[in-house]
């Protein structure tokens, strides 16, 4: 297959597949390789046979939870913000043609030993057990300020400067209690820790607005989730890339990397032969010597349940956030719950994935509060992952590396990485254009 390409992409994780699709639309000739025989890399969804062989190699799956093929368990638990950037990219590239999405039923936050729904409207705020009568009024005033804030209208700024004043100062101004600040900062703005309190309020304001506009889109929660699991996302973008001419090779380990005299990337050798390209995009596992562990480690516990989460009104899917303050930690604990209503497991089962950044040498004990929330489990599979960052920006050797998937609860940092990589690879910012309709594409392909 000795051939020349514009870009060689290594690894079929979500970041790589989105870039592969976008570059193919741009007319680049893309070769996309994965050493594994399935799509998705770290962002795949696995059936139980694959899952047990990865996390409990000594105990293969025996069929105790029904048909293997009914199960698609995400390796990285995340939800899409329905008004977030990934949704925007999905709509513009029409990858929505290949997938279906469903709302996540609820968004909950842990406070004083129990969980409560995150209020997303005035109506919900008024009935929320999270706040007493006076606190509700203060909360309403605060939310009113956020919603009314208009950049060009200084009268809506209430003498705050979002680029200078800290979030802590704004909370103090509205007289909000610590517990209320916890759920605003952690369950709405989705900050993983309290560092944001002393930083300018702009970022938190943007995050709260993203939460509120996402809730406003479909109503029940700000999150959506694809039928058949997150592993559908990289596959959908891979298909987009293929339709625009991208070549895909799975189950193909890299035998050798080729470099030119200046030390720039030149191509790869595989069992299929040599493929050349001046640019390489890859996930950190392909170039372990070009990335550094950030020191942060994420623990993820995949729990199989046969009941919904107590206190969620039997929700078929939820996000539960345990703010760090509430359990004496530095990092929040996230619980993502999905069930057969999203076609990711056999009927009657639920999958709860607990994740957090490890703070001690007994990480499984750190998850205790989350296990109390989810109730009895049928089985638990645990994994610990290092977070890697690329050492360089790729300008020297033309190897552009993605970051590891972080422990955040949604994809906003992933799409930031996509846009940043796109800019470094192409030299210009990503401008999303509406993809052509099926009819227009048929015409372009000479099928009219």
């Amino acid at each position: 297959m000795d051939e020349n390409y514009d870009v060689i992409v290594l690894g079929t994780g979500l970041t790589e597949c989105i870039l592969s699709g976008l570059l193919s639309i741009d007319g680049k000739k893309v070769l996309h390789i994965d050493r594994q025989e399935y799509y998705g890399g770290e962002s795949a969804s696995l059936n139980l046979t694959q899952l047990y062989s990865k996390f409990k190699p000594s105990r293969p799956y025996q069929g105790q939870f029904g048909k293997d093929r009914d199960w698609l368990v995400d390796l990285i638990p995340k939800f899409l913000m329905s008004n977030g950037e990934l949704t925007n990219i999905l709509v513009h590239t029409d990858v929505t043609r290949y997938m279906e999405f469903k709302q996540v039923s609820g968004s909950f936050v842990y406070r004083d030993g129990r969980i409560a729904k995150v209020p997303a409207s005035t109506v919900e705020a008024i009935s929320s057990p999270l706040m007493n009568f006076f606190e509700k009024r203060r909360m309403r005033n605060f939310l009113q300020f956020v919603v009314d804030y208009t950049e060009d209208d200084i009268t809506t700024h209430h003498s705050f400067n979002l680029d200078k004043d800290t979030m802590e100062e704004i909370y103090t101004h509205y007289g909000l209690q610590k517990g209320t600040c916890d759920f605003i900062g952690h369950a709405m703005a989705l900050h993983p820790n309290d560092d944001y309190l002393t930083q300018p309020a702009r970022d938190t304001y943007d995050r709260i607005m993203l939460y509120l506009t996402s809730v406003a889109r479909y109503g029940k929660s700000p999150y959506i989730y694809p039928l058949y699991g997150l592993g559908e996302l990289p596959q959908g973008f891979a298909r987009l890339s293929a339709i625009y001419g991208g070549t895909f090779m799975l189950d193909t380990p890299i035998e050798e990397y080729l470099w030119d005299d200046d030390g720039k990337f030149a191509g790869v050798k595989t069992k299929e032969g040599t493929a050349k390209a001046p640019i390489c995009i890859a996930d950190p596992t392909y170039f372990p010597d070009k990335v550094t562990a950030t020191g942060q480690k994420v623990i993820r516990a995949m729990c199989i349940l046969d009941h919904p989460i107590p206190g969620t009104g039997d929700a078929d899917s939820t996000q539960i956030i345990i703010p760090q303050n509430q359990v004496g930690r530095k990092n929040d604990i996230y619980i993502a719950v999905i069930s057969s209503s999203h076609n990711i497991c056999s009927k009657g089962y639920y999958v709860a994935i607990i994740s957090t950044i490890i703070e001690t040498d007994k990480p499984h004990l750190e998850l205790e509060p989350a296990f109390k929330v989810i109730g009895p489990t049928k089985d638990v599979l645990m994994g610990i992952a290092q977070i890697y960052d690329p050492n360089e920006d790729g300008s020297k050797d033309h190897v552009y590396l993605s970051k590891s998937y972080d422990p955040s609860s949604h994809f906003e940092t992933t799409t930031d990485d996509v846009k940043d990589l796109y800019r470094r690879v192409t030299g210009h910012d990503l401008v999303l254009k509406q993809r052509k309709t099926a009819e227009e594409e048929a015409e372009l392909a000479g099928l009219d």
Partner: protein, 207 residues
């Protein structure tokens, strides 16, 4: 299309996937079916790997096929599970002038049986009957193989058009129409349409 738009008109949609070795004429068969045309020098499939076409079964029943082409992902056997997901029909194509393409077809049939849902209707289709004098695979051999596995079997020519419409019509007749109408109604009510922009009213926060 039928003129009857009364409440009794049944309109059911099914996903049909194409499989087979590169260059056996998968896209050409679809081009003949959807556009009733043929081009001698087709590039490998780029763009337009998602086409639809309807078949009227009778005055009150229309079947619409949502046709998925491999878009080249078959070349290194790198089709994703999303490709097989919810497919209700499959056209496994070989070239009657290439012996090896029937072996590849057998591989794809095995893949389908592993990856696709039970009850999928599979048709084994020998293409290029316009090249009868170069035939390497006998109709008897392919047909007995297909029948042995309970598959539909057709021979067609995308170039001349012979057999193409009939092949899709026979598949359409096998589609579980009532079942599909019921399931579609259920599904519509539980998924969200990302392409639907909220009205300006809704876009404002609900606080």
């Amino acid at each position: 299309m039928s003129s009857s738009l009364g409440s009794e008109h049944r309109f059911a949609q099914f996903k049909l996937v194409l499989l087979g070795e590169s260059a056996v004429g998968k896209s050409s068969i679809v081009q003949r079916f959807v556009k009733d045309s043929f081009s001698d020098f087709r590039e490998s499939t780029i763009g337009a790997a998602f086409l639809t076409q309807t078949v009227d079964l009778d005055a009150n029943t229309t079947v619409k096929f949502e046709i998925w082409d491999t878009a080249g992902q078959e070349r290194y056997r790198s089709l994703a599970s999303i490709y097989y997901r919810n497919a209700q029909a499959a056209l496994v194509v070989y070239d009657i002038t290439q012996e090896s393409s029937l072996d590849k077809a057998k591989y794809w049939i095995k893949e389908l049986q592993k990856q696709a849902r039970g009850g999928i209707i599979i048709a084994l289709v020998g293409n290029k009957t316009d090249l009868e004098q170069e035939r390497k695979v006998s109709s008897e051999e392919a047909e007995s193989f297909a029948k042995g596995l309970g598959l539909l079997y057709f021979e067609v020519s995308a170039k001349s058009g012979t057999g193409v419409r009939e092949c899709f019509k026979q598949i359409a007749l096998k589609m579980p129409i009532e079942d599909s109408l019921r399931k579609r109604r259920e599904r519509k009510s539980r998924t969200v349409d990302l392409n639907k922009r909220p009205s300006t009213n809704e876009q404002q926060c609900a606080c």
